[in-house]
């Protein structure tokens, strides 16, 4: 556990002590901020028909951000260490493979959540300066839970992509591609008639838009939570196997 904290500290250090970390935070803040401004403009002073959280996540902006930001955060994790050789010095100390994967993923998800912190300001502004109905804490919690879970999924995909290669570019492209595929699946589930309606349809589970819509309404569906949790664990497990694979004969 001690080693896990040491690793986590160092991983967080590379996020918060590097320029790229702040570029990512700034880029997310910029896109979220401008979307927010657009929303306010469109709505004028009329009361919104739905919670403001839901309005934002109904746009594709959120998914655009997740798909782009996840590779930017994760591409470095393993690929850079492999390319520079520090992976070798890391793996010949007393660290375990699981600790390394867990620390890198935890740092990524922590940093990812930090990039979303500016959205809190948006919520506060709405509360204070408009005559919208009071935001429900459940709705806000649901929104951040949604951000967290979908972030977990996309970041774990990025972890796997990064563990597979020495090249950060390849890692980024692979996780971007998988992200886009997930997005397309979600889109199909959304637009294909009947698909999203029945829970028996496999595509139903890939309707990320619907999941997020539920979360931002404050509805936490255990099926969705389990979908994200299992998918994340699957990709992290695969990452762990890839890290272990160097010890296969």
């Amino acid at each position: 556990m001690r080693i896990f904290w040491t690793l986590l500290r160092r991983e967080l250090g590379t996020f918060f002590l590097s320029l790229t970390g702040y570029v990512i935070i700034a880029a997310v803040a910029l896109i979220v901020g401008s979307t927010f401004v657009m929303l306010i403009h469109n709505m004028g002073t009329k009361p919104f028909a739905m919670p403001v959280t839901q309005l934002f996540f109904n746009s594709f902006m959120y998914w655009l951000l997740v798909i782009l930001v996840a590779p930017a955060i994760t591409m470095r994790l393993f690929a850079l260490e492999k390319a520079s050789g520090t992976f070798e010095t890391l793996m010949t100390t007393s660290v375990g493979d699981l600790q390394v994967v867990a620390a890198k993923f935890s740092a990524a998800i922590f940093f990812y959540m930090v990039t979303w912190l500016p959205t809190l300001a948006g919520l506060v502004i709405i509360q204070r300066f408009t005559n919208q109905p009071k935001l429900d804490l459940g709705v806000v919690g649901g929104m951040y839970l949604g951000i967290f879970l979908s972030g977990c999924l996309f970041l774990s995909i990025g972890c796997l992509a990064s563990a597979l290669t020495k090249s950060q570019m390849v890692a980024a492209v692979v996780s971007l591609a998988v992200g886009v595929i997930l997005f397309v699946l979600a889109y199909m589930a959304q637009v294909l008639p009947g698909a999203a309606a029945s829970a028996t349809d496999a595509l139903y589970y890939f309707n990320l838009f619907k999941h997020m819509e539920d979360f931002t309404r404050g509805v936490v569906d255990t099926r969705t939570v389990i979908f994200y949790a299992t998918a994340t664990f699957l990709f992290l497990f695969l990452t762990l196997r890839v890290v272990e694979s160097r010890r296969w004969k």
Binding site: R2, I3, T6, L7, R10, G13, T14, L17, S18, S84, G85, T86, E88, T89, L90, M91, T92, T93, S94, V95, R246, R247, W248, K249
Partner: protein, 315 residues
């Protein structure tokens, strides 16, 4: 300290290390010598526990590096090829991070970091960012990292590569200072380095260990083939006749030197020392002897000789 038996490592389609066996005793400094691609780094990577062997066993301090990885890792300080570091970290911060990863406690790691920084001459650069250090300092950071958890065995893969002569000297001195208290395994393809630092040499080529001995013994073993060079002022024909009739001379070669001197290169039979013989001959015949030397084989000659077949193949 190290027992390697029948170690083989195959990468897809290529055998990097081919059935090698050797042992290294506690406190020895052993040099792994060989051209690029001879399997030195692969051997070290297996020793360090980074990769498993395809077959064969490697034991460090009695523990199997694959099955008792935790026990062996604690006992090994490993500096890989090209000395990878985190360039964005500060020296002290990095060493402390490494000490913690190697399982040292908070207080212990602080203590050890201070000690190794002293030992490696890093005390003045503790706050500097690694990426901005000179190569010599970076190398010392790598060494300090290898030493920080007080390992019994230190494995250094080409520790002096890419350094300037002054830096090489200081790194060598540092490694030499480890002798006795630590067992050291160094790989290099720089011969004088081995001659200077190592008590024993393992010459590797194409994944095999071709020779394993002290530098002196290797030289002695080769001395049988060493030549004696004599520059003598005498008629060439007379010289040839004398060498021809001398049973101790196995082979000779007479070439014209400056003025009336001839340069004779003589190969003795059975590794005898021809020099007293030549001197007496010169005295008896009244020849002027200007130079009399025995060319000792340097490790370089031995190395060239041992590794020759493939270098020719390559050409």
């Amino acid at each position: 300290m190290i027992e390697v038996s029948n170690l083989t490592k195959r990468y897809a389609g290529r055998t990097a290390v081919d059935d090698i066996s050797f042992t290294v005793a506690r406190g020895e400094i052993v040099g792994l010598l060989g051209p690029n691609g001879a399997g030195k780094s692969t051997t070290m990577r297996v020793l360090s526990g980074f990769m498993p062997a395809t077959s064969g066993t490697v034991r460090v301090a009695g523990f199997d590096v694959f099955h008792d990885a935790d026990e062996t890792r604690r006992r090994i300080g490993y500096m890989p090829e090209n000395n990878p570091l985190h360039p964005e970290m500060r020296v002290r911060e990095y060493l402390k991070f490494r000490a913690r990863l190697k399982g040292l406690g908070w207080k212990k790691s602080r203590e050890r970091v201070t000690t190794v920084m002293e030992q490696c001459g890093l005390a003045d650069v503790g706050r500097r960012i690694i990426g901005q250090l000179s190569k010599g300092y970076k190398q010392r950071v790598g060494l300090a990292d290898a030493l920080v958890h007080e390992p019994e065995l230190i494995i250094l893969d080409e520790p002096t590569i890419g350094l300037d002569p002054q830096q090489i000297r200081s790194v060598r001195a540092l490694i030499k200072s480890l002798a006795g208290s630590h067992t050291v395994l160094i790989s290099t393809h720089i011969l004088p380095e081995v001659e200077m630092m190592c008590g024993r040499v393992l010459i590797m080529l194409d994944g095999r260990v071709l020779a394993s001995d002290t530098p002196e013994n290797l030289q002695r073993r080769m001395a049988g083939g060493s030549q004696v060079i004599a520059e003598i002022a005498a008629p060439a024909a007379a010289l040839r006749a004398v060498w021809e009739n001398l049973p101790e001379v196995a082979q000779f070669d007479v070439t014209a030197g400056e003025g009336e001197f001839f340069r004779c290169a003589l190969t003795p039979r059975d590794g005898q020392d021809l020099r007293p013989l030549i001197f007496n001959l010169a005295r008896v015949n009244g020849w002027t002897l200007r130079e009399l030397t025995r060319s000792r084989h340097s490790l370089e000659d031995i190395y060239m000789q041992v590794t020759r077949p493939t270098t020719e193949e390559a050409e």
